[in-house]
Symmetry: none
Subunit: 227 residues, 2 copies
DNA sequence: CGGAATTGTTACAGCTTTGTGACACCCGCT
DNA sequence: AGCGGGTGTCACAAAGCTGTAACAATTCCG
């Protein structure tokens, strides 16, 4: 489920956007100001941040700057919301690292379209929101995955792991990173847990002729890459 | 047959639109004001609402807001009609959740094009406004549902749940989302409530040979999909 | 070549999640 | 007030996953 954090002080606009998002199959986290947003980000990680420019107690750009300095949150796509009269600030927003901007007033369809576009850029999904790599395909909306067109039977952990890997193909991740990114953030887990999950995932791919896609880098971690 | 509800107080414009729609193979329901529109919506479900901004006895936006709060009607696409002089109000229409708007005067071709575009984006109901998936069929207008032609005996909750699922087939929804979308928005409910409702719905489908249509995704939620 | 470190593989116990039936409550109807 | 259908919650049963440990295989390095 795609989760959007909306930082906006006016409640009616929040309601409206929540409605538009829910119709598009997304859920919304809300924050009324920067402080609240940061509190929220400490515990939850949305897929995208929708940030109003004008906020009580510090403008949105401040939050944006702080985000970009935080290694954990740096990759979060941000869409800035500006009123028509604030045209010039839009520029500053983009300079500060926003991925896109939207001028109020906007249509729900436009909002959703922008969000999808930005997310597509950020995650490498195609027009339908599907992720693809080599002979693999994964659809977050239906929570299904295929290999050469054959549906894969994946448990929750295997699915999350494949989802993460396919969204970041080619990169090497240590076991610790994978535990961070593809596991629920609850408690501590043995690093070898990852090995077993990788094994289970490989086993699920094998019967469909996808060998060697998940590579081991001795001493470093794992990587999804062409065989 | 696509049915459009046109809420508009000026008869000449109604005639004009009725003509344009009939040439495009659509039928039109008419209402002169909000009250009449709501009376109509109680018994019939159009595929789209064409809503004039200026109405005697309450502006169109009021109806729009009330629509959006009604779970049964929330998915109905709405196109707002505004006069050129009301340009700025169009903004408010979109903010209230209209899917598109049209500025008077407009050409018949433009009207039909907008309607088609919006309908394409909206849910996949057929010409009679019925929803279908696999062996299931559901008619929002009469609030009835069938499985392989056999009428289903559903309580209100089961009906709303099936309605939502069949309108969004294939997608996975968490228990929290289902509570949001298929339950009255009153108060808090236990998430396990969804399990029980799903169970009751499954039980209602079973006798008619529809097993496995409602799938459980461990750790994620439920999904309506081909077995 | 031998040993150490790293990773692959398997099995299993425990735990979390879900299915299921029962029950009490609410509400509209008679 | 009594009745009955519908709904939310709880408790228990069942199923499915997952983490861990233990052992095998592989790689690395001297």
């Amino acid at each position: 489920m795609t989760t959007i954090l909306f930082v906006e002080d006016e409640a009616p606009i929040r309601d409206l956007v929540r409605f538009a998002l829910s119709r598009a199959g997304m859920t919304m986290l809300e924050a009324g100001d920067n402080a609240e947003a940061e509190r929220l980000l400490a515990s939850r990680r949305p897929d995208l941040i929708l940030l109003d420019w004008m906020l009580p107690g510090g403008s949105g750009i401040e939050l944006l700057r702080r985000l970009r300095r935080n290694p954990e949150l740096r990759d979060l796509p941000v869409i800035m919301l500006t009123a028509l009269a604030e045209e010039e600030q839009k520029v500053r927003g983009l300079e500060a690292g926003a991925d896109d901007y939207l001028t109020k007033p906007f249509s729900p369809a436009e909002l959703v379209a922008r969000i999808r576009a930005v997310l597509r850029r950020a995650t490498g999904a195609d027009e339908q929101g599907r992720l693809r790599f080599d002979s693999l395909e994964l659809d977050p909306a239906t929570r299904r995955a295929w290999c050469r067109g054959h549906p894969l039977q994946l448990g929750p952990t295997e699915y999350r792991l494949l989802h993460f890997l396919i969204a970041h193909p080619g990169r090497v991740y240590t076991r610790a990173q994978l535990l961070d990114y593809a596991w629920p953030p609850d408690e501590a887990r043995e690093e070898r847990t990852v090995d077993v999950a990788i094994r289970r995932l490989r086993k699920a791919l094998e019967p469909h002729g996808a060998q060697g896609l998940i590579q081991t880098l001795r001493g470093a971690g794992y990587r999804l890459d062409h065989a």
